[in-house]
């Protein structure tokens, strides 16, 4: 009996507590000026979070609360946009075509009036749908191949400039303790994505909106990736994935595909003993390729202060070039999305960093807007089966082409 009463009491107390905690979501009314909530994904570099909070605090017309969100960011934002409890302003590796078509993000074209040409066209294009712009590129990121100079020299291997040379080099560099190449724990299907296709001269989607890789030569290129796996030259199952240079630095692999953001850490630990390469070309039509992408600032259509949110985005990502430069260069290592800022940046003028800037200008490609998540999943599944399962590349690619074509037809309608 006493137990039951205590139980009831505790339950009552719990309920009271819940109500108290309930509304504490970091947004909503209260306070003086209107409140905006702004979301960022978790950047790995120290200082970034404090920096974006500093920018937000400097905006006078609204009280901007910054939310820093580790974990699966794309999924979190996609789900939050369905509800009224999402952000007003958020950065997004998109927005996706379905988010644009579904009216979930606002048209930001007029924010760029007069300065549109200053933004790198490669990363602005995927934010543009039927001439309207739905995201303001913040910084450019890219990925590249890091290699350990000393290990290549010891093995008598030249830095590979063709896919065939890469396959041979990876095999030659593999011994009992060290693998030749690390393309992520899934064998490369996830991080490489369309890069090998571009390196073979095939776009994911053509400019006139058709599947770009419906070609036996494309299948042949992807088939070569299976040789890396079959030769056991690939590092697999490392505790940290491709985005983290740990495997490269721990000497588990001689070459690793990773992000530009890893460059400062690698330079700090290895000094001059490393070099960078784009994904090597393959076939007659091929040329080297690196993916470029940009997180863009977007405004949710469910925001309660749409004009204010747009004004904030314009203020931060168009007008305040000092903050944009600080954000790109002071913490992590990104290329500014605006050409005027990129050419000014001293850190990008020499050594491997300068090589990387050259790669992005000469060989960069961005995923087209028509490359929808469903199409991407189908292609990625096919690539995984080709690389790891040794599946017939032509058959796998045909299935992916069919799915991508369906998706293009769906969103083009």
């Amino acid at each position: 009996m006493t137990i039951s009463r205590r139980t009831l009491l505790a339950a009552g107390a719990g309920a009271g507590l819940l109500t108290a905690c309930g509304s504490n979501t970091g947004r909503g009314g209260g306070g003086s000026g209107p409140r905006l909530s702004q979301w960022y994904h978790q950047y790995g570099e120290p200082g970034t979070e404090r920096a974006v909070q500093r920018y937000a605090a400097a905006f006078r017309k609204a009280d901007v609360s910054v939310q820093w969100r580790p974990g699966n960011y794309d999924q979190q934002t996609a789900a939050a946009l369905l509800t009224d409890s999402g952000p007003d302003v958020f950065e997004v590796d998109g927005p996706t075509l379905d988010q644009i078509r579904g009216g979930q993000v606002l048209d930001l074209t007029d924010l760029l009036a007069g300065v549109k040409d200053d933004f790198n066209p490669a990363v602005l294009a995927p934010k543009t749908h039927e001439g309207r712009i739905y995201g303001i590129p913040q910084v450019i990121d890219t990925q590249l191949l890091y290699y350990r100079k000393s290990l290549l020299r010891d093995a008598g291997v030249e830095p590979p400039t063709t896919l065939d040379a890469l396959v041979d080099a990876a095999r030659a560099l593999t011994d009992r303790k060290t693998k030749g190449l690390f393309l992520g724990n899934d064998g490369g299907a996830g991080v490489l994505g369309g890069t090998p296709l571009y390196a073979a001269g095939f776009p994911l989607v053509t400019d006139d909106g058709r599947v770009g890789f419906d070609d036996p030569a494309a299948a042949r290129t992807l088939g070569k990736l299976h040789r890396l796996y079959a030769d056991k030259s690939l590092l697999l199952g490392a505790p940290a994935d491709w985005s983290d240079p740990s495997a490269f630095l721990q000497g588990l692999t001689a070459m690793q595909w990773s992000g530009l953001w890893a460059l400062p850490q690698i330079k700090r630990e290895l000094g001059d003993d490393f070099g960078v390469l784009p994904f090597p070309a393959d076939g007659d039509r091929g040329r080297p390729a690196v993916p470029v992408g940009a997180y863009g600032a977007a405004v949710s259509a469910r925001s309660r202060h749409k004009d204010l949110a747009k004004a904030y985005v314009k203020w931060l990502w168009v007008e305040r070039t000092d903050y944009q430069k600080d954000f790109a260069l002071s913490y992590g290592f990104h290329i500014p999305a605006r050409r005027s800022l990129a050419t000014e940046a001293a850190a990008l003028r020499e050594g491997p960093a300068a090589d990387v800037v050259r790669f992005t200008t000469d060989h960069g490609y961005a995923q087209p807007l028509l490359w929808t998540p469903a199409g991407q999943t189908a292609y990625q599944d096919a690539l995984s089966r080709i690389i790891k399962g040794g599946a017939d590349p032509e058959r796998e690619l045909r299935a992916a082409v069919r799915k991508v074509a369906e998706e293009i037809a769906r969103v083009g309608a």
Binding site: N72, D74, Q75, A78, A79, L81, L82, G94, T96, D98, Q99, R101, G102, Q104, R176, K177, G184, N185, D186, G187, A189, G190, V191, G193, L235, L236, G237, A238, P239, D241, S243, A247, L252, T372, P373, A374, T377, A378, Q380, D381, S384, R385, K388, G389, G390, A399
Partner: protein, 300 residues
Amino acid sequence: MRRHRTLWFWVFVGPFACGLALFTYVPLLWSVGLSFFDAHNTVTPTHFTGLDNYAAMLRDAAFRDSLKTFLLFTAFIVPVTYGFSLALALMVNRVRWARAFFRSVFFLPAACSYVVAALIWKMSIFNGVRFGLANTVLGWFGGDPVAWLSTTDPPWYWLVIVTVRLWLQAGFYMILFLAGLQRIDPALYEAAAVDGARPGWTVLRHITLPQLRGTSVAVLLLLVVNAFQAFDEFYNLLSDARGYPPYARPPLVYLYYTALGQGQNLGLGSAGAVILALVIAVVTVAQARWLRLGRTDGDG
């Protein structure tokens, strides 16, 4: 008097029933509704498409694969967990020394989450590099490191997935079996001994197992229900920032990416979920029939 009782019935059952209606039945019907619409990035769709989503889902090879994965997984994990936890219970029940210790050790993992267990398995025991425990042990015998979670031929990832689940669950079912064993009347064993039956296989087959029938039915049902809900260990072991590999992908994981990922195809995801629910209902009802659930005495 009857009205009085009806009132009291609803006082007791009402709050629970209302909550269940709101948080289970409403979403259920809503989901079924969504499955008939083209619902990209919206939960209040307007474009009615009839059975298109169902047709698309059934045509989708990846979804069919995931159903196959899940049936295969269930068919394997259920008997294995059943056998293993029964064996543990029989051994712990017979041991005379340090029985409480053994019981605790096997039961302890039940307190761990799939997230923690997946982390230990993925990062420490079965990572693919030379400092993983499994690879260290292999190295002592001169073996080369194996990338357990990334190797598809042979499919070593199943070893990782199955062992994680066994470690987490076997202890709980062992406790259920132990409770069942305690309830068996010792007189039965004495009678068997008088009849000349030797302890061992004969006694197990003719006394212990039949007496455990009630427990067995409960354990099997719980195991199947749990296998249906498999998501956590798959997601935590195999997903990465770029998605999920096309193997060992159970339907819940596939639907998670279809409906809740950036894809946000809620209509298609709901159709898949309804198909999954039908499969589960058929399997469960068939299983209940097969075990003749209705016949067990509900003595508690």
